[in-house]
Symmetry: C2
Subunit: 202 residues, 2 copies
């Protein structure tokens, strides 16, 4: 189980005030999501896990949708951060691909939520949209994709698709991590030392 976030004071409060309930609830959602499927996630269940009454959650989230959207947005931000860190690698595309796969494997539940129908239809949730766009931005800004803006965007989308496809097939158990990484090594191999040429076959 994910460690419950507690107040920064460190000392366990005797007060019944939790201190960091929103994060604790998000973590509980992730635990349930990673353990099984999305149908098990609920306000009551999640509150139960945290050890708080169900209605307490409504002090921090408008409702179930809001809580889920918040978890998904966090997921996108985490993913973007991981990719950003990987982009500093000497072989950035490969590193980004690996980081993406690693994220999906480590967080299958959130990964599914992020790219599932719940979130897909939440087009109005601006925080979520922005967080997802952040992932694309990291990809689009990675230097290997050339100088022209439009070309970079196109290639970033293609690369995202490749990487995302591997990750999805892994999560769904049609492909092993090892095999996927070996394949990515082939695909993203820097066949051209100048680094200016396309790396995914076009």
């Amino acid at each position: 189980l994910r460690i419950q976030a507690r107040p920064a004071t460190g000392a366990a409060k005797k007060s019944y005030h939790h201190g960091n309930l929103p994060e604790a609830l998000r973590n509980a959602v992730r635990d349930v999501l990673d353990a099984g499927d999305i149908e098990q996630v609920g306000m009551r269940e999640v509150a139960r896990i945290v050890g708080v009454s169900a209605s307490a959650a409504y002090r921090h989230f408008e409702g179930k949708d809001d809580l889920l959207a918040s978890v998904a947005a966090d997921g996108f931000r985490e993913l973007a951060a991981a990719l950003k860190a990987a982009a500093d690698d000497p072989a950035p595309m490969m590193a980004i691909g690996f980081a993406y796969v690693d994220f999906a494997v480590a967080n299958p539940g959130v990964f599914g939520l992020m790219f599932g129908p719940h979130v897909a239809r939440k087009e109005n949730h601006s925080d979520l949209k922005e967080a997802a766009a952040g992932v694309f931005r990291v990809l689009a800004r990675t230097g290997v994709f050339g100088k022209d803006r439009e070309t970079r965007r196109r290639r970033a989308l293609a690369a995202w698709s490749v990487i995302h496809g591997f990750s999805t097939l892994i999560v769904v158990n049609f492909l092993s991590v090892a095999k996927a990484k070996a394949l990515m090594r082939d695909i993203f191999a820097e066949t051209n030392p100048t680094g200016s040429d396309p790396v995914i076959g076009f």
Copy 2:
């Protein structure tokens, strides 16, 4: 709404026997799935749509899980058939990729079910597993992937990932069909007229 399958006699029976309830129920599942998300799908809801009592469904399916697995397996078979047809195209990889994307766009709900956590954890459901393997088989048998068996398998997996990634990002609204197809055209362009060389950059 999907047209409800009726008995082959054509004439509307006055009997209360439905005649093809299993298929009608599967179609109802798909309708609900395509319209919204998986949480709306249920035995009662689906029976209601078909116009039958909830318990009638239990004459044909063991329960909810069984019904969903059946829908997913059908989805895999449909997808495999569509890909098989596309494989006859002079540019088979591109045709297969387009067919895959078209299937996902036409059936976003089933597509999500097929690659979602519900099915991913149903490893014991052999019919489902077999149906999913059929999709891979079509890809692996497509001639462009070379003569060596292992190489073919590797490349088939890579191609699947690419194609699947595009489809997922489309379904989740991060990418348009037009853009995805243009990118696939670039990636799968037959740069080598002999057709024997790798087509996805490795």
